[in-house]
Symmetry: C2
């Protein structure tokens, strides 16, 4: 507790080492994190959070570097979080290279951090939101959360952002895969990178057609399709402009609703992880599971029985809830 207060004091004084420490606490599930975050949580909410996803090789890291450069030109400060849920191997090493390169610039207006897979399912999505919260509280204007792929874990990470960028590039049939895989539903902005390469026009028109065919509610945001060649520093202004356009669209009540939904999802994720750990490890349900398995005709039947028993207990909670939402720990 003493150390937690010390860290937050240094954090509030603008010490980057304290920021880094808090992110490490979030990443490692350190018990001191929750108290530290609570102390600075009133500063959270000013940064704009952009999530960047897309298949490997689409050029996400290059794009993020260019976006950050343009934000700096506009005197906006930038926090970058590079998250790799898929592997402790190559992805992490690549991110590491870039981080070392960037830190050499010694620009105090940029902060870069990577996180790799560890711990339980969903742990990285929790840690990623926590890291964004502390970068936000620290005062960065723009947060860029980049992932290495497009799986479910990556989706959970970027969908906590205010604006989600899906980055594609010509070739390899990725446009069709993107349409099949639900990426269009995730994207607020579709970026066709490497737009100078063969097939870019086709990819752009395919995406635009797919978006048109989709049909939309009259008031809904229609994802923008923008193209650029981040490796040649061409057209990335249009990406940042698209983000600004989405930000203007959300401003006000829509943003409040979206962020409230994100927070509810965060709480459910944290509760889910800890509830399951508590059930199995502390409440003796693991032995109960073994007993059920011994007599059930299949694992699914055993699961049905265990679930029915737990839910029978939980069922009356909602009824018993009082509107009091006091300080019960």
């Amino acid at each position: 507790m003493g150390q937690s207060a010390d860290i937050t004091t240094r954090f509030l004084a603008g010490e980057r080492a304290a920021l880094a420490r808090l992110i490490s606490w979030a990443e490692n599930g350190d018990g001191r994190f929750a108290a530290a975050l609570a102390e600075v949580f009133d500063r959270v909410g000013r940064a704009w959070r952009v999530g960047i996803t897309g298949p490997p090789g689409a050029g996400k890291s290059t794009l993020v570097n260019e976006m950050a450069r343009l934000f700096r030109d506009a005197e906006r400060t930038v926090g970058v979080l590079a998250v790799d849920p898929s592997s402790p191997f190559t992805g992490g090493a690549l991110l590491g290279d870039r981080i070392r390169m960037e830190e050499r610039t010694l620009d105090p207006g940029v902060f870069i951090r990577s996180m790799a897979s560890r711990g339980s399912h969903g742990g990285l999505a929790c840690a990623s939101v926590d890291a964004c919260d502390v970068m936000d509280a620290f005062g960065f204007d723009e947060l860029l959360v980049e992932t290495v792929g497009v799986g479910q874990a990556e989706h959970d990470i970027v969908s906590a952002a205010d604006t989600v960028l899906v980055v594609l590039c010509p070739g390899a049939g990725d446009g069709i895969q993107a349409m099949k895989s639900g990426l269009l539903e995730t994207a607020d902005v579709l970026v066709v990178n490497k737009a100078d390469q063969h097939g870019a026009d086709r990819l752009i028109s395919d995406l635009e057609e797919a978006l048109e065919l989709r049909g939309m509610a009259p008031d809904a945001w229609c994802p923008l399709v923008v193209s650029c060649s981040a490796g040649k520093a061409q057209g990335v202004e249009a990406v940042n402009a698209a983000i600004a356009q989405h930000r203007a669209y959300l401003a006000g009540e829509r943003l409040e609703r979206a962020r409230a939904a994100m927070r509810a999802e965060q709480v459910q994720r944290v509760v889910g992880e800890r509830l399951l750990a508590a059930l199995w490890n502390e409440r003796g349900y693991d032995r109960e599971t073994e007993r059920l398995l011994a007599s059930a005709p299949s694992p699914h039947a055993a699961a049905e029985q265990a679930l029915a028993r737990i839910l029978a207990q939980v069922d009356n909670i909602a009824d018993n809830l009082e509107p009091s939402t006091g300080s019960q720990p």
Copy 2:
């Protein structure tokens, strides 16, 4: 229900289309799967399940093909499940290529199936065990479950196997990464593939040294390190021999204990997924979460409060449990 009975009849008659259908039901979370599996579950348990993981580029697919060929030479039938939790993109496409190639051989002793990421966290690990169960019940002798990477999702998938292979290759510092990332703890057999390439001897001695330094309980299994060049069809016999050695080690009570633990984990995973869905969507806890968030000083404080309320209800379950484990649905 009618269709489920029809499918299991065809399945028991050895129809591969019925096997494929059951796996699709498992993959899509189809409500008919549980009943169908229960009908054939008494046939589950004869196949040996090998999980294969390792960083991208280590040559896992080539190795699996060679292992399957050797099993066929020994007149063992083989089911292959290629699981890609990281991306609906390139990985899936690569698996698809191989599947098309293999199916052309028309060998009825081989069945190959791929699964890509979809649905919730952990859903793929559940579906993977289910798919192995039906391939097992169908009568395949050897099951090979291959993943595309080494993240948490891949770990969850392969750790349900009887024998876990971790495949590495020389170069890129993967040996060191493997030691850091806990892969040595996962592996029953460490395969150094591409053993004809520069650095293989060093990787092998690094791995052996790391295993020695680790220290082990006297009766525990010490992971075997074997090398091969699957692409040149060299040395893969040693991989299959190592699997046989591990199988002999487990035979009897150890195997029973390991499989019981795997089943308990499976049930906990299924219960966990469905419990959380029931809490948030059906039991009105989502609105409760919003109320807590409105007054709590941080999302973590709101999570603490929600968790305390749920657990207060669940706490007395273990006490109330009767030894009756009847057919309550």
